[in-house]
Symmetry: C2
Subunit: 294 residues, 2 copies
């Protein structure tokens, strides 16, 4: 008895780091027959072809998705609604769709608006595998190995369709978790979106000073670590902040309240409050790091 | 014609990472005759002896500093006033003193209070060479090589005494800069003390939640970089924050105003302000990183 690949035809919208690595991983696992790619830039699509990420550049999205087993939308979240509305009328009855967006409540809302009765075929996903580089050239078959992928299933999804999309991400080597879309967005507002905002804010605040060179001249390794994420892509992060505005505002306000408390302690010279806060943070940070592969 | 070491006798208070590395570097450069160490812990002093960091454990500070060429006070800043007042009456007329503290206006104030007429013999310094590890075992002869050391001379210091202390740090391989104490404290409040406070605050805010495990579970590489400094020593950072309270409060308020602006933009959905802020930050961060050895 022999088995063919689990997915005969996979269509990828956006063949950069996220989409390209997904395609390469499924190919490396022998679990895909053919990968068809769509993208805004012909240069990127040609590169993806040359790199063996995709087998074909798609011409007509509606036609390609009608007989696809799996569709991955790996574009910036802002472009997803348009893609959804273009493919909605043609989506095959057995075709499943997943995505690679960093926010989920907005994707779910777009799915319901643009896929309508086909919404159940879309299983939202967030692969936690950023990298400093982006683009097709940065794609790697092992990008997702050992990384986390969060699925945020909707009530419309069948158990079987969730299992099948889970399986695709598992073939990529990822560890799969499930959260509700709202829960996902709250968690990532706190551990990812807020830190990016804070890091951007710090560097901006220094950069706009007349004597900014003096400051940057003495910035050292702690500054380097703290601000590494301030070198992230401005447009992408603008979109993430806007897409997750509600949860991010909540986290930002909570954080501002925390800063207010520290400001009070500092103004009063209350070293005990400062030390307690720092100590709780250090203990938690060390425990967290101890749980990770270093 | 042959030259002996530039410093016949060096006394080091605090033989941990900063003091120990200073001693090792001067020894490696052949610029010190004898190093005498003082410290609060006999275990550390014994270790420093075993590691060849010091040649002798000092018994009587007053006696040891009376014929020393150079004294380095490399203890936490909070302990410096007591050391200054103990050595003040015995300080030889040619003996110079420097320190390794991260804040300078408070050190200068203590110098004037406790050294009195001998204040001119103290040339304050801040070596920018933290490391994740501390203690005598972490000391290295090359810790300061290529690193920056900021001297914050006082009007009381003679040109010659500044040059001599500068020379000691240069023998350690450091690049020397001069700032006024107030200027130093403003700069480091912005590029070091504030980021530490912000990073501690973020981790603390997550750690005190009932469901903190959920959050930490999905924290990834951006979080790791941003919070690395939240694993720093709570007591040391409490002291730095308190010692540099004035400048740090100024920086914190400036930063809070910046966050308020970003909050407004976010609440209004003003993507242009967000993108502009992120873009200015990214450009500055990349330019800064390009100027550094990677």
């Amino acid at each position: 008895m022999s088995f063919g690949p689990e997915f005969g035809k996979v269509v990828v919208f956006g063949v950069g780091l996220i989409g390209g690595s997904f395609a390469l991983a499924l190919k490396a696992a022998g679990q895909v027959g053919e990968v068809v790619g769509f993208g805004r830039s012909l240069a990127t699509l040609t590169q993806a072809l040359d790199l063996g990420i995709i087998d074909r550049v798609g011409a007509n999205p509606g036609q390609e998705v009608s007989d696809a087993d799996l569709v991955l939308i790996a574009t910036p979240v802002g472009q997803m609604p348009e893609i959804m509305s273009r493919i909605a009328p043609y989506l095959g009855p057995e075709t499943l769709v997943t995505d690679g967006g960093s926010t989920k409540a907005d994707v779910v809302a777009a799915v319901r608006e643009h896929l309508g009765e086909r919404a159940g075929q879309f299983i939202p996903a967030h692969p936690i595998a950023g990298a400093e580089n982006s683009g097709a050239a940065a794609a790697r078959a092992d990008l997702y190995r050992g990384k986390k992928v969060v699925l945020t299933p909707m009530p419309e999804n069948s158990v079987l369709s969730i299992a099948r999309v889970r399986s695709a991400w598992e073939w990529c080597g990822a560890q799969i978790f499930e959260l509700s879309p709202a829960e996902h967005d709250r968690v990532f507002a706190a551990v990812s979106h807020l830190p990016h905002l804070l890091s951007f804010a710090l560097v901006h605040d220094l950069a706009v000073r007349e004597n900014s060179e003096l400051y940057f001249n003495f910035a050292a390794s702690g500054f380097r670590d703290f601000t590494r994420i301030a070198a992230s892509h401005p447009e992408m992060w603008r979109d993430i902040c806007l897409a997750n505005r509600g949860a991010l505002l909540g986290e930002l306000d909570r954080y501002r309240a925390q800063l207010d408390e520290l400001r009070d302690a500092l103004a009063k010279g209350d070293g005990a409050v400062l030390e307690k806060t720092f100590d709780v943070a250090r203990t938690a940070r060390r425990a967290w790091d101890g749980n990770k592969t270093k």
